[in-house]
């Protein structure tokens, strides 16, 4: 363990929690002791799609909620809100996560990427997005943002997956229309392999 890092985190936690004592209505956070123990503040910065966004976040708030209702990034969908469908999938430090089952406070030091952050500045779609269009992957489209994020994560780690590997990587995203094979065709096309 890096002692400097640890000290920095400790100090950060102290600063964070002293704000919490002033702003949080929870009765126990008024305890002076709590400050050094990591009670969270409400006004935080999170890194979303390369931008630092200041946002007022309740302690229990989920990332899906923050993205959609505080930052207006409604590309991320909430399906089941229980981590059982995958519509809310976003990348956190490049790894797929269910944003409905992630506390916003836990991503303060990490980089979040949503489906809005994929296209290039000139509007060119991400290869996965383009391939999904070319292969007519979505049917109703509700699960598509999540499917896109899972495919993006897969291809950044494994640029030429087999169809079986793609199937495994996409297995945490349900599609109620049953367009799974079409999505797999899209993933294979995006990886430059014939679907």
């Amino acid at each position: 363990m890096n002692p400097q890092l640890s000290r920095r985190r400790f100090i950060k936690a102290v600063i964070a929690s002293s704000v919490a004592a002033a702003s949080n209505s929870g009765f126990h956070s008024a305890l002076a002791q709590d400050r050094s123990r990591g009670a969270v503040e409400r006004l935080i910065s999170i890194n979303v799609n390369g931008q630092t966004r200041r946002v007022d976040v309740a302690p229990q708030e989920t990332l899906a909620h923050t993205l959609r209702y505080k930052l207006s990034l409604t590309g991320t969908k909430i399906g089941c809100n229980r981590g059982e469908c995958g519509a809310c999938t976003v990348l956190i430090d490049g790894i797929t996560n269910y944003s409905c089952s992630t506390l916003t406070h836990s991503v303060r030091t990490r980089a979040v990427k949503t489906v809005e952050g994929l296209q290039a500045s000139d509007g060119t779609l991400h290869p996965v997005q383009q391939a999904f269009i070319d292969e007519l992957s979505p049917q109703c489209g509700f699960c598509t943002p999540g499917q896109v994020m899972s495919a993006v994560a897969l291809l950044s780690e494994n640029p030429t997956p087999t169809r079986e590997e793609a199937r495994q990587a996409m297995s945490g995203n349900l599609c109620r229309c049953g367009a799974y094979d079409h999505y797999l065709n899209g993933v294979m096309r995006a990886s430059g392999q014939n679907s």
Binding site: N24, R37, A58, Q60, G83, S101
Partner: protein, 329 residues
């Protein structure tokens, strides 16, 4: 403070030191909720089926994460994610049983954040209990899953006592098979407990799945070198390959002496409230070789002593066939 999310108002602590986490856990006791990846947390809270005062997020405590070498095997920190376990070289080469079990947990996204400690300590999946009904497990005096019309296809065939819920953890079976030791900390110190004794049945602990007391935190799991690189077999049977919990799973560790089994551990998940050791199978296979013939001979022992409920008789042949498959040559 109004909440516009379906999450209830609950305080959140993100301590960076274990001592702070332990003090918070002690201070809140039953009202504290120790948080790993949170994948068995938010459902409870969103459904208002459990209502803790405060969540204590352990993922910021650096000392709780990572896979370390010990004098006798390895130690895995409690907040190490299943993803890290599945991809760890040492675990894949020496304890592939654990890597396989962890690889069959839930879905990729859940494995990406789900922690070992959380997977081991997760609560029962009985839907009557999850619904928030006042059953035995929730402190009431009734079991909704053990009645003539109860839907108990997923429930216990062994070791039930009032409550008939089963152990849902895939990694738990592997830990019992590997003779792991759980390290449990509290403000008063640290204790270690064998995996087999860490999990608790309803006869002694009806409202909990483990012997963790309020204020205690599972900090690490130690796996001895005893079973490193031995012959393993893991299989999980579930309705879907993703998300679903085991109907029956089996984790087997065997040390071979030439062609014959010198010592073995056969552990079934999904059949009892805690990982269930098939001791009669273990003693029957000692000295036997792996063959279809021997597999057929010992398989019927797997379901000895079971008491199925209305809808889960199918678990008996499942247990037998999983043993049979583990014993095939």
């Amino acid at each position: 403070m109004a909440s516009f999310d379906v999450m209830p108002d609950v305080q959140l602590y993100q301590p960076v030191e274990l001592d702070d986490a332990l003090r918070l856990a002690e201070q809140y006791g039953d009202g504290g909720w120790v948080l790993g990846g949170g994948q068995d947390t938010y459902g409870w809270l969103k459904d208002r089926a459990k209502n803790p005062q405060a969540m204590i997020d352990l993922t910021g405590v650096e000392g709780l994460r990572g896979i370390r070498e010990t004098e006798d095997g390895i130690e895995i920190g409690a907040t190490t994610t299943l993803r890290e376990i599945i991809r760890n070289e040492r675990i894949n080469s020496d304890y592939s049983l654990l890597a396989q079990a962890a690889g069959r947990v839930a879905s990729p996204q859940i494995r990406n954040v789900g922690t070992l400690g959380g997977n081991l300590s997760q609560d029962a999946r009985c839907w009557y209990y999850r619904r928030g009904l006042a059953c035995y497990r929730a402190g009431g005096n009734l079991c909704y899953a053990d009645g003539p019309e109860a839907m108990n296809r997923e429930h216990a065939v062994l070791g039930a006592s009032r409550c008939v819920a089963v152990s849902p953890s895939d990694t738990a079976t592997a830990m019992v098979a590997l003779e792991a030791t759980m390290i449990v900390a509290s403000t008063t110190g640290q204790r270690s407990v064998a995996a087999e004794d860490f999990f608790a049945g309803p006869d002694t602990h009806i409202t909990q799945m483990t012997t963790l007391e309020p204020g205690e935190i599972l900090t690490a799991v130690r796996i001895p070198s005893k079973w490193a690189g031995k012959r393993f077999y893991f299989e999980k049977v579930a309705d879907r390959d993703v998300w679903d919990f085991a109907l029956v799973s089996i984790a087997v560790a065997m040390s071979m002496d030439g062609d014959s089994i010198a010592e073995s551990r056969f552990v079934c998940g999904g059949v009892a409230c805690k990982p269930h050791r098939l001791r009669n199978v273990e003693s029957a296979v000692r000295g036997k070789s792996l063959s279809d013939e021997n597999a057929d001979a010992v398989a019927p022992l797997a379901s000895a002593g079971t008491k199925p409920l209305n809808y889960n008789h199918f678990k008996l042949p499942l247990m037998e066939n999983l043993v049979r498959r583990a014993m095939r040559g």
